[in-house]
Amino acid sequence: MSPNFRIAFRFLTAKKRAMVMSLTCIVLGVGLFVVTQATTTGFQALFIETIIGADGAVLIQDKIQAGHTSFETEHGSGVNIDTTQDNVKLQAGIEEPAPLLRALARNSAVLGASPVLKGSVDIASAARSDTGRVYGINIEEHLKVSNLGSKIVEGSVDDFRTRPAGAMIGRELADRLLIGLNDFIQVSQSGGPPQRFKVMAIFITGISALDRERIYLSLSDAASVLHRPTGVSYLQLQLADASRAPVESDRIVDEVRYNAQPWQEREKSWLSAFGALQVSSAITVLVFTLIAGVAMFNTLAMIVIEKTKDIAILRSMGYERSDVTRIFLWQAVIVLSIGAAVGCLFGAAATYGISKMPLGNGGISGIFSAKYYVVAWSAWHYVEAVSTAVVMVMIASIIPARRAARLEPGDIVRGTAQ
């Protein structure tokens, strides 16, 4: 044990009350940092998982063509607005998905690609009529790029796969139409003849916008309903690493000359909201760690004042200014180490406790579905919390430590130290 550490430890233990106060502030600062990060990123992670699970990491939906004009089209599959950037024109939909799928199959970053034909429809049950959106899919391909299979709450994907003229429908839409499993619905595009489908499965994605309007049919059934014998609206892609969606999208654009939209761009507004929430949480917890820094500053400043004579003794014995600085920084390090360790344990325990707390009113649904508080377990939360505390406390400790080192031993023993 170094002499400086030994002295620091003894100085600190002699000021138990002040040390406990500083320690408590650091424990709270680190612990609350971990908890807020865990909860905010937990909800964000669930949101991301939900939207990627529902609509994939990347959507390829418009063909890029050279041109000078922009136009708005009303496709059979719904309203599509083509945009132009300089001399680039986007043509809505994918007329020939097969070559595109072959090209994507060669891309190792792409785990799967599912062609989807989408369009607005009228839906009628025995009791009610409503509007919705048909999504024509190849179920085998689509299960590779979505978590639809795990969102089924009634019926099964197998029934949808094996029986003809089957439909999978969102829970909210089913409720609006007053229908249940195995009931029949009539689906038609405005003005077209209605076609009859049997409800084989009901799903809840947790995203209200999807659950209240979405109805899945087989690709061929959707083509028939939407009068689109060829082509699809878009390809839904799943990637090996969803976080790389923007990079992979750019590569896909360059390779296949179709517009590819990563999930980060698709959900930009929600992600911005989560980002803002994280920043505001970070500000709150920074205040806690700032208080921890102030408490440490206060403790050390007090010790410097009380220990001026001891500093003079040490200096008279041959202890250098740097030794005095180290003695005070060691005190900060000791409190910080204990505080960070206990703070991390406190943060982990609190995070676990929160994850077991039910959300009010039976849970949250809308942009995702959760019945309990959602937390994310990440070592980075602990690293960030401890790093923030280290920066705050050490900055706060340097000032009194340097002040102690600057004290002139001659002045102290003369009793004139300022």
Binding site: I313, S316, G318, Y319, E320, G410, V413, T416
Partner: protein, 235 residues
């Protein structure tokens, strides 16, 4: 009371020498010329007393000699090496190697035991391994009559005992010079005698120079030499 040696000491014997020391304290209108060209020598095995009224500059001189302060003019040499104009690190190192201090108010570190207080300068210097430091500290405390109280905290020792620990601590690194500022000034007569008896005995045993500042004429009379001061000069 013995007079100060009139002739210069043989070079080998002089371990501390200062010449033409000037020191001002305070600022602006409060600035005081405390030392006015003081010269002084201390020799191995000798106990020198600096006496004089309060404010005459004797403690200021002691702190300059101990390199705790820097003169405004003049020179201080320890073991022939001029230290007065060196940087803080060099002066600090010289303090650790050559100088032991005994202050009036004991200045023990009260959170530490007597043994730890005595070991503290040794730990900094790092000249001895831990077991030898411990053994030496035990020996020093025994020599000042505190062999049974080595593990008592500073707060558990009387004033006289604390000052004896301070003496043991001052001797711990076997310094060439012991500087004592009113070492008995805060003690009763019995403890005062006990502490003063220690300093010359240990100094002579180890060939150390002792310079002490005192108001006590009896203490001064028992030193090898006495240097009276007034208004910042030796008289």
């Amino acid at each position: 009371m013995k007079a100060a040696a009139a002739s210069p000491a043989p070079l080998g014997d002089v371990v501390l020498r200062c010449s033409g020391l000037h020191r001002y304290l305070g600022r602006d209108e409060g600035r005081v010329h405390v030392l006015k060209g003081v010269s002084f020598e201390a020799r191995r095995g000798q106990v020198e007393a600096i006496v004089g009224p309060s404010g005459c500059g004797k403690s200021t001189l002691l702190y300059l000699l101990g390199l705790l302060d820097q003169p405004d003019a003049g020179e201080i040499a320890i073991d022939g090496q001029v230290m007065s104009n060196t940087d803080d690190a060099a002066r600090t190192a010289a303090r650790g190697r050559h100088i032991g201090f005994v202050f009036q108010f004991h200045f023990l570190m009260l959170e530490f035991s007597a043994l730890e207080n005595v070991m503290m300068p040794m730990r900094k210097l790092g000249r001895l391994p831990e077991p030898e430091m411990r053994e030496r500290a035990h020996g020093l405390l025994a020599s000042v009559g505190l062999g049974e109280k080595t593990h008592r905290l500073g707060t558990q020792l009387s004033g006289g005992e604390q000052q004896r620990v301070a003496v043991a601590r001052a001797l711990s690194n076997q310094p060439t010079i012991i500087l004592a500022d009113e070492p008995t000034g805060n003690l009763d007569a019995r403890n005062s005698t006990m502490v003063f008896d220690l300093l010359p005995r240990l100094a002579k045993d180890n060939g150390q120079a002792v310079v002490l500042v005192t108001h006590n004429p009896e203490i001064a009379s028992r030193c090898d030499a006495t240097r009276p001061m007034r208004d910042g000069v030796f008289i």
